[in-house]
């Protein structure tokens, strides 16, 4: 069934199926679309039968191997009436043919998102779709959005369609997908929202071009104004204008025609179809055709009065010469044609720098060229506070890492860690510094860091055979397991409670010191006022503790404070921490985090927050060492906060898994089979016998 209205192309309740849904683009866009409008019923991809595309907070999208399987599996009420094709170029023809063969009864519209489809295949798709009496949009369309029904196909609106597409009275038909989104954003200052945003694609053949869409827009009850973005190439506009001329009272149109600068030059524009193929297909010719139709000269923002008087008489619309003139032109056209705006106009459009740092260059600029940072609109303002102004840690970008690594490489000659030759590290480095290179991506800055970290690793090896991480390899040996299983058992017996406290300590240190402007944690002179920081921390901790206690909640504890053995003494120390502290004293190494931790134990006791005398335990010390190493990299945004947070746990796990191996070796040699078993007689049953 061919569309008789814009809503026939896309409306609420449409059921979408996506080809090649597991592909990079298709899966990403489908997840966002599903969160936005939940209109995807299923997808298919060869060889991916049975998989799903998981949607956060929603039902996973089922994936079938073929379209025929998809149709068979879905009940009639869920069978798709719209298809999005994301198949690779050479597979597009086959996939569309499959859809038409099996889904003719259900499918109304096919949207071909794929780029680089050959012209021959494009022509064949048109022929097939015409024979089946269905619409086909593309190829290389970005998709369509129906802002009234808050539904979309394809990627129109990006990852936050609500941001640009507020429901309203303007239909955008564009040769550029990006321009659909961009123009919708620009119209907000004019108080105009969107009825439909349609990306036609701009391949050499446009399967549903403006000449077919314009009649639908003219009949659409929600659309009061049409905005066209047009590029050179094709005779579509000539025929569209002929249609407009045939109407008694056409709705007003605003058009922007790009690409005039390329005339007479042998350059190719961005879109494959933006190629002149005859006298009426150049940008200049299209401009002239539209100007002749409108009966008004191109929009001149400097002389609105002259323009308005003609516009009020003709009421057909106008062409703009610059994209940013769209706002003023839209306001003029709505005024002249008596069209009500959709909402109160937002902030006027203009240059609004978000950040600027011209430095000395600014002195060379005349006053008129100097601009000042303005307001950053939401939701960006909050994100800027979080990512840019907080200024801490690297913002990592993501990509497929299946066959890629920043951390290691091997060109067949030299294995490397973050670009550093393993052989050179073997010759000149140490295991400890190589591990830190692997974890941080950057070599250590200070020699003493190697020794400090090594001491931390030694301390992590063991805390005696009674700890659960030492019990685990002993259990494993007792059961007759192999060494790797025993090591896994060790790792399996550490977690957030045992061993993971260092991560909490790191989080606390980042929270406390992240706002202080601290750059060098080893420089005592420039250290922030630790007593003030401790006072503030203890005060807030006390307040939280009181509230939690009164509410009967399990109250928060300061991570890595306390020692299970010596907590009644007047002065309390973890003996392993003392070794590291002595080394630091001896070598005049200052660590602001370590200093803070000691002041905090004293501050907690003197403020009466606790009756115990806390000790800075070895986990805290290891965390302080690692944060000392990581801090400059965080400040310089060379590593992420998440990476820094993981370091203490990784270090503890590394030391303890080696210690666990020692327990395994000992137990395997000296223990007896099953000696870790607890006799039945010693086990208590706490329930009630039921039968």
């Amino acid at each position: 069934m061919r569309a008789k209205s814009l809503s026939d192309i896309l409306k609420k309740g449409d059921r979408i199926a996506v080809s090649n849904i597991t592909g990079r683009e298709a899966s990403k866009v489908s997840i966002i679309s599903q969160s936005y409008c939940r209109n995807i019923v299923a997808g298919w991809a060869l060889g991916k039968d049975g998989q799903t595309v998981d949607v956060p907070g929603g039902k996973p999208i089922p994936v079938f191997g073929q379209f025929e399987d998809l149709l068979s599996a879905l009940p009639d009420a869920k069978k798709p009436n719209k298809i999005i094709v994301y198949s690779p170029p050479d597979a597009v023809y086959g996939d569309v043919k499959e859809v038409l063969e099996h889904g003719k009864k259900f499918v109304e519209t096919i949207f071909v998102i794929t780029e680089h489809v050959s012209i021959e295949v494009t022509a064949k798709l048109k022929s097939l779709a015409d024979s089946a009496d269905i619409d086909i949009v593309g190829c290389n369309t970005l998709g369509v959005i129906n802002a009234y029904d808050r539904t979309r196909v394809g990627a129109v609106g990006g990852d936050s369609p609500d941001e640009a597409f507020v429901k309203g009275s303007v239909c955008i038909v564009s040769n550029s997908g990006n321009m659909v989104n961009t123009i919708a954003t620009y119209l907000k200052p004019a108080g105009l929202g969107i009825s439909y945003g349609i990306s036609t694609g701009k391949d050499p053949l446009i399967l549903t071009p403006i000449r077919e869409l314009l009649p639908l827009a003219m009949m659409d009850p929600r659309t009061q104004l049409v905005i066209l973005y047009v590029e050179p190439g094709g005779s579509y506009e000539e025929e569209a204008i002929a249609y407009l001329k045939s109407l008694k009272c056409p709705k007003p149109v605003i058009v922007y025609v790009s690409g005039q600068f390329a005339e007479g030059r042998s350059i190719s524009l961005g879109h494959a179809g933006a190629v002149v193929e005859g006298p009426n297909t150049t940008a200049s010719a299209k401009m002239k055709m539209f100007d002749d139709y409108f009966g008004v000269p191109v929009f001149d923002p400097d002389h609105p009065k002259v323009f308005m008087s003609i516009l009020k008489e003709k009421k057909r619309g106008v062409r703009v010469n610059a994209l940013h003139d769209l706002v003023n032109a839209a306001m003029a056209v709505t005024d002249a044609c008596g069209i009500k705006t959709d909402f109160s106009p937002t902030q006027p459009i203009g240059l609004n720098p978000w950040f600027k740092n011209f430095g000395a260059f600014e002195h060379k600029l005349p006053r008129t060229m100097i601009i000042h940072p303005g307001n950053i609109p939401e939701p960006y303002g909050s994100l800027v506070e979080r990512y840019v102004k907080s200024g801490f840690g690297r913002i990592q970008t993501r990509q497929s890492m299946r066959n890629a690594s920043h951390a290691s490489s091997n060109d067949g000659v030299t294995p490397r860690i973050y670009g550093y030759s393993v052989m050179n590290l073997m010759n000149k480095g140490s295991f400890v510094e190589s591990v830190l290179l692997y974890w941080l991506g950057h070599p250590l800055k200070h020699e003493f860091e190697i020794r400090l970290f090594e001491m931390g690793l030694i301390a992590s090896l063991t805390n005696g055979p009674g700890t659960i991480s030492s019990q685990a390899p002993k259990l494993s040996a007792s059961a007759g397991n192999s060494p790797n299983t025993a090591m896994i058992a060790t790792l399996a017996a550490i977690g957030t409670v045992h061993g993971g406290n260092g991560q909490e300590a790191a989080r606390m240190l980042i929270d406390v010191f992240g706002k202080t402007g601290l750059t060098d944690p080893y420089n005592k002179k420039n250290a922030p006022d630790l007593d003030a920081i401790v006072r503030d921390y203890v005060k807030k901790f006390k307040e939280r503790k009181v509230v939690d206690k009164e509410a009967g909640l399990h109250y928060e504890k300061v991570p890595c404070l306390g020692h299970p053995v010596f907590n009644k003494e007047a002065v309390n120390f973890d003996p392993r921490e003392r070794v590291i502290a002595a080394y630091m004293d001896e070598h005049k190494i200052y660590n602001v985090f370590h200093d803070f931790y000691h002041r905090l134990t004293r501050g907690m006791t003197s403020a009466g927050v606790t009756s115990k005398v806390h000790a800075v335990n070895v986990d805290a010390t290891l965390t302080c060492i690692l944060m000392g190493i990581a801090w400059p990299l965080l400040v310089e945004k060379k590593i992420t906060v998440e990476r820094a947070l993981d370091l203490p746990f990784l270090a503890f796990a590394l030391g303890r898994v080696a210690g666990g191996a020692g327990e395994y070796l000992d137990h395997r040699e000296s223990g007896t089979d099953m000696d870790m078993r607890i006799p039945v007689s010693e086990c208590k049953f706490l329930g009630r016998v039921q039968d």
């Binding site: 524009l269 961005g270 970008t397």
Partner: protein, 413 residues
């Protein structure tokens, strides 16, 4: 994307395969004795350059000859003479065909029909733009069934050509269609078909464009000719890099400008931005479109090529696009920032302003990465979000580039 060929490749590789009658020909280098023999049979020949430029007559490089010594000289001379700024691949001589009639035919994909179309005119031998609409007929061709002899014959009848010649020409036109559809052509034009007094038909000039997206083009059965090109090293490297992957765009077209190095995103946005820069005196170095959500590696290499060729002489770096629907801004900006850092590490510091305008997924994270890099490199910068129209950003950048240029010149003194 398109790849073109001219008459010589048609004569050598395609005409025989598709049974299209063509005149005899020889290709430079050729022995004097061979030329002599040919001219003794032909009477006269036409010397032409094998070049993809120029209109009919190839800017005065097409010559009719009957003397073998003159032919020899002309073949050498024409092979070395530039046509429209392009060097010919070689030269060749075709048999001169005395004609009673000249026709024009073209097969192309037509936006009006959204299908292939066939155009024929009995006014061949002149530039197609000079043929009035009343003297030519264009008919749609069913892409599955192709052009049949009946349709071709009917078109000729409408132009007033009947009889046996109509039938013979129709068969030739069907063969032209077979060639067009079998090789993945986007358009092909034979102008003129020459018909002798005794009704012998010859295809006497030819040009065609292939659709590089068509799988048939990838296996033409002959090695695609390499025409000498005046393409800049930058354009050539980017063209090869663009063809290396379909993930993300890597399209550039040199404009010969000297001020702004534009890293642009979006087929439409890039056109609009370049147009604005040109209008406002921004003198952009090239047109670019790097949208289509390129992965990190693709974007980094793209930026690296742009910087390696063009950054040293640019007055301003412009990174600009509309509000992306799909392109990850954090990924693309991290890639550009890393490429910029590496370029500076290898080539030393630069002092040009950087103007950035963008919107889309991961925007703020992308801006954070870029801001840090520009601060590290001590480059003056300004960022705009999607609330500022790209045309305003482009106009501002164009003005700013003028002051950067002045600054650069002063520094050089």
């Amino acid at each position: 994307m398109s790849a073109k060929i001219g008459e010589l490749i048609f004569l050598q590789q395609l005409a025989g395969r598709f049974k299209i009658p063509v005149p005899d020909f020889v290709v430079e280098p050729v022995n004097q004795s061979d030329i002599k023999k040919k001219l003794q049979v032909w009477g006269s020949g036409i010397v032409k350059p094998d070049v993809l430029a120029g209109k009919r007559g190839k800017a005065g490089t097409v010559h009719k000859v009957s003397d073998y010594r003159e032919a020899m000289q002309l073949l050498k001379k024409v092979a070395a003479a530039e046509v429209g700024g392009l060097q010919p691949r070689t030269s060749y001589m075709v048999q001169s065909v005395p004609a009673e009639m000249e026709l024009f035919t073209a097969i192309t994909y037509n936006s009006k029909f959204i299908s292939p179309s066939f155009t024929v005119s009995l006014k061949g031998g002149i530039d197609v733009e000079s043929i009035p609409d009343s003297d030519k007929i264009t008919i749609p061709v069913d892409v599955f069934r192709g052009l049949n002899a009946y349709q071709a014959s009917e078109a000729l009848s409408k132009l007033g050509l009947h009889g046996s010649l109509n039938s013979m020409l129709a068969r030739c036109f069907v063969n032209q269609w077979d060639m067009f559809i079998s090789t993945g052509m986007q358009s092909c034009e034979i102008n003129p078909w020459r018909v002798t007094k005794d009704e012998k038909i010859f295809a006497c000039d030819f040009k065609a464009t292939f659709d590089e997206n068509n799988f048939k083009f990838r296996d033409l059965g002959f090695e695609f000719p390499e025409y000498p090109s005046t393409e800049e090293a930058f354009d050539e490297e980017m063209r090869l890099w663009s063809a290396a992957s379909h993930q993300g765009q890597a399209h550039v077209s040199s404009l010969g400008g000297k001020k702004i190095l534009p890293i642009l995103f979006g087929g439409g946005a890039s056109t609009i931005i370049i147009e604005t820069l040109a209008q406002c005196g921004g003198d952009p170095i090239f047109l670019s479109d790097f949208g289509g959500n390129p992965p990190y590696d693709r974007m980094k290499k793209t930026a690296e090529i742009c910087f390696r060729h063009k950054l040293a002489n640019a007055s301003l770096l412009l990174i600009l696009g509309g509000k992306a629907n799909n392109t990850q801004i954090d990924v693309t900006f991290a890639a550009i920032a890393d490429a910029l850092e590496e370029w500076v590490a290898q080539n030393g510091p630069i002092h040009i302003p950087v103007v950035i305008g963008r919107g889309g997924p991961g925007l703020v994270q992308g801006l954070a990465v870029m801001k840090k890099t520009l601060e590290n490199l001590n480059l003056p910068f300004v960022f705009f979000g999607p609330d500022t129209p790209i045309t305003l950003v482009a106009a501002y950048a164009a003005k700013l580039a003028n002051y950067s240029e002045i600054e650069g010149k002063e520094d050089q003194k």
